[in-house]
């Protein structure tokens, strides 16, 4: 059947892309804090709001070096004006710091903090996606296979959650927890809250697929051979939802990255000394800080890159994003 060959191939391609993307994110979470040139909490005295320092390969005399920057000197502490010291070359190993993406108000390296923040921000997004899909698949399977009142109750709840603006739901649930928490507790709280808000669309899709697949001959054959409901669902029906769940994951991850940023930004997520992307943006958003030091918006760029990467992975699947070239 040539008609069905397309969608199935696409579905496999998308799962493969989603899987690859998750691997990339996992690698980034593990490696990024390692790549950071400085400790994310280290404060360099005398370097508040230092601008990004451009990398050079050739110095003024025309000699070649390993990548380096020229040292900065604070000439006006009140206006926070810096001057390049063209005689002094700095690298990540030298006594003076090299702020590739500038420094924040405490003289901390923005690049190191963005890299360290990847672990928290992507970690929350990844784990809460997994949690949301687990709840969604379970609820969807229960609704689709169980039918009757289980189906009715679960789907009404799902409808309600879908209709509400997600961020308010997240806000209300987070607000119901203690306001001051340690970083570890915030991490767990955010994963739990986001997982609880994100499951309904996954549940609806899984339910639909299960309703169709239960009527197929292979499912009936499994039942005829004496397989219990547990085995029929887990072994035969749920694998059919794999492609759908991969697509769902690609929808949820960017939404959750944004949700973490928003919550931390308004003071209900990670709080400032912790380098999560949202908490860093909170620093940048205070007063006129970002206007004077626009490099503090670097975590925002990191978020855009992540979301864009996920949208690219969706490319083959989502006509909303890409249109259909050449059709």
């Amino acid at each position: 059947m040539p008609e069905s060959a397309g969608p199935i191939a696409l579905r496999h391609e998308t799962s493969a892309r989603a899987g690859a993307l998750f691997l990339v994110f996992a690698a980034a979470i593990t490696v990024a804090p390692w790549l950071a040139p400085y400790d994310p909490g280290r404060q360099f005295d005398g370097y508040p709001f230092a601008p990004p320092m451009r990398p050079h390969l050739v110095d003024d005399s025309g000699a070649w070096h390993a990548p380096f920057a020229y040292a900065l000197r604070l000439v006006d502490p009140i206006e926070r004006r810096y001057e390049e010291d063209r005689t002094k070359r700095v690298t990540f190993a030298s006594a003076e710091p090299w702020f590739l993406l500038g420094s924040d108000g405490f003289g901390r390296d923005v690049l190191s903090r963005v890299l360290a923040g990847a672990r928290l921000s992507l970690g929350v997004a990844g784990l809460s996606t997994i949690l949301a899909l687990l709840i969604g698949a379970t609820a969807g399977a229960a609704a689709g296979y169980g039918g009757g009142w289980i189906d009715a109750v679960l789907m009404r709840v799902a409808d309600l959650v879908i209709v509400l603006p997600a961020i308010y739901l997240v806000l209300a649930l987070r607000g119901a927890l203690p306001l001051v928490l340690s970083t570890r507790e915030v991490f767990i709280a955010l994963v739990a809250v986001l997982g609880l808000v994100g499951w309904p669309s996954a549940a609806r899709g899984v339910r639909g697929i299960i309703l169709i697949e239960t009527k197929t001959e292979y499912a009936e054959a499994a039942r005829a051979l004496g397989a219990g409901w547990w085995r029929v669902i887990g072994r035969h029906l749920l694998p059919a939802t794999r492609g759908f769940l991969a697509v769902q994951a690609l929808v949820l991850v960017p939404a959750f990255v944004m949700a973490e940023a928003t919550l931390s930004f308004v003071g209900l997520g990670f709080s400032p000394p912790t380098p999560s992307w949202g908490a860093m943006l909170q620093d940048a958003g205070a007063g006129r800080t970002a206007a004077e030091a626009p490099w503090l918006l670097a975590p925002g760029v990191a978020i855009i890159v992540v979301v864009l990467a996920v949208h690219m992975a969706e490319q083959s699947r989502d006509p909303l994003l890409w249109g259909r070239e050449g059709s």
Partner: protein, 304 residues
């Protein structure tokens, strides 16, 4: 049409009731309350304060009383502001609605025509640029778009950066909220009109000698309306979600800021009031989108 409207209105009422009750109960069950907020109070003072605010009653009793009063539109009094919740909420909701409505209009005026352009013409630099911009904008959450616009406004000094006032105060928050939605509408409209233009009816119109531009903007556009109107219900929700971040960044005194503050100070009735107002606005928005969709496409009225 009347039965359809009635069904939707009942669903909206249920939504408002469920959301408000859930918000109130959630806020009551949260650890800590308004009386325990101030440091340095003796237990006796705290107990007296709780009694004054009615927080010493069982949760079920508090809920029952609140429910009875709210039937007469008395949503209680805010602990923090010591003013009726309904007044605070009304002002916040009006500001949010103003922001959301302006953003929706801007997004529609920008998104739909550019979508028709990119959907009907694939070659040329203009559709390419629009498509690329849309893809980028779709990846920019309102939090970041508002931060970036704010930075630009502050650096150039062209526009006021915060608060509420004349039309110029509306520019930054509106654009921050509208641009991602305009991008979404553009992509959708492009897709939808692309589909409409390959239908036999469009081909027949062209074969009769009707100029392409008329086929696109008159015939194709009408047929592509269905899917677009269907998405407006969803957009109302994302307007609310987006406006929360935008309001906070630009200090826009809307419902989002009010609700955040109420949650953090454990101002229980204000939380419930905000939830109620939000749910009412949402229900009205979704209802309006549904009605527009049903008016354009009779098939929608029978099912759902």
């Amino acid at each position: 049409m009347l039965a359809f409207l009635l069904r939707r209105a009942v669903a909206a009422l249920v939504l408002v009731f469920a959301v408000t009750s859930a918000a109130l109960l959630l806020a009551q069950l949260a650890p800590g309350d308004f009386a325990s907020r101030e440091i340095g109070r003796t237990p006796e003072e705290m107990a007296a304060e709780r009694h004054r605010l009615g927080l010493d009653l069982p949760v079920a009793e508090q809920y029952r009383r609140w429910l009875k009063r709210s039937l007469t539109l008395d949503l209680g009094e805010s602990f923090q502001y010591q003013r009726p919740v309904i007044d605070l909420v009304r002002a916040g909701a009006a500001n949010t609605a103003l922001l959301a409505a302006t953003a929706l209009i801007v997004a529609t005026l920008v998104g739909i025509p550019s979508g028709i352009l990119t959907g009907s013409r694939r070659r040329g630099w203009l559709p390419r640029v629009i498509r690329g911009t849309s893809l980028l904008l779709l990846s920019v959450p309102p939090l970041i778009s508002s931060l970036v616009l704010l930075t630009i406004a502050a650096r150039t000094g062209w526009l006021p950066v915060a608060g509420i006032g004349g039309v110029s105060h509306l520019v930054v928050p509106t654009l921050a909220l509208a641009l991602p939605i305009a991008a979404m509408l553009e992509r959708l409209q492009a897709q939808s009109i692309g589909d409409a233009l390959v239908r036999p009816s469009a081909m027949a119109a062209r074969a009769r000698g009707i100029p392409t531009i008329r086929v696109v903007w008159r015939h194709g556009w009408r047929q592509s309306l269905g899917p677009i109107l269907a998405i407006y219900g969803v957009i109302v929700g994302s307007l609310f979600s987006g406006s929360f971040a935008v309001e906070y960044v630009t200090s826009w005194p809307g419902l989002g800021n009010l609700m955040r503050e109420a949650l953090m100070t454990r101002d229980t009735y204000l939380v419930a009031g905000c939830a109620a107002a939000g749910a009412v606005c949402l229900a009205i928005g979704v209802l309006a989108a549904d009605v527009a969709h049903a008016a354009a496409d009779p098939r929608v009225r029978s099912d759902a």
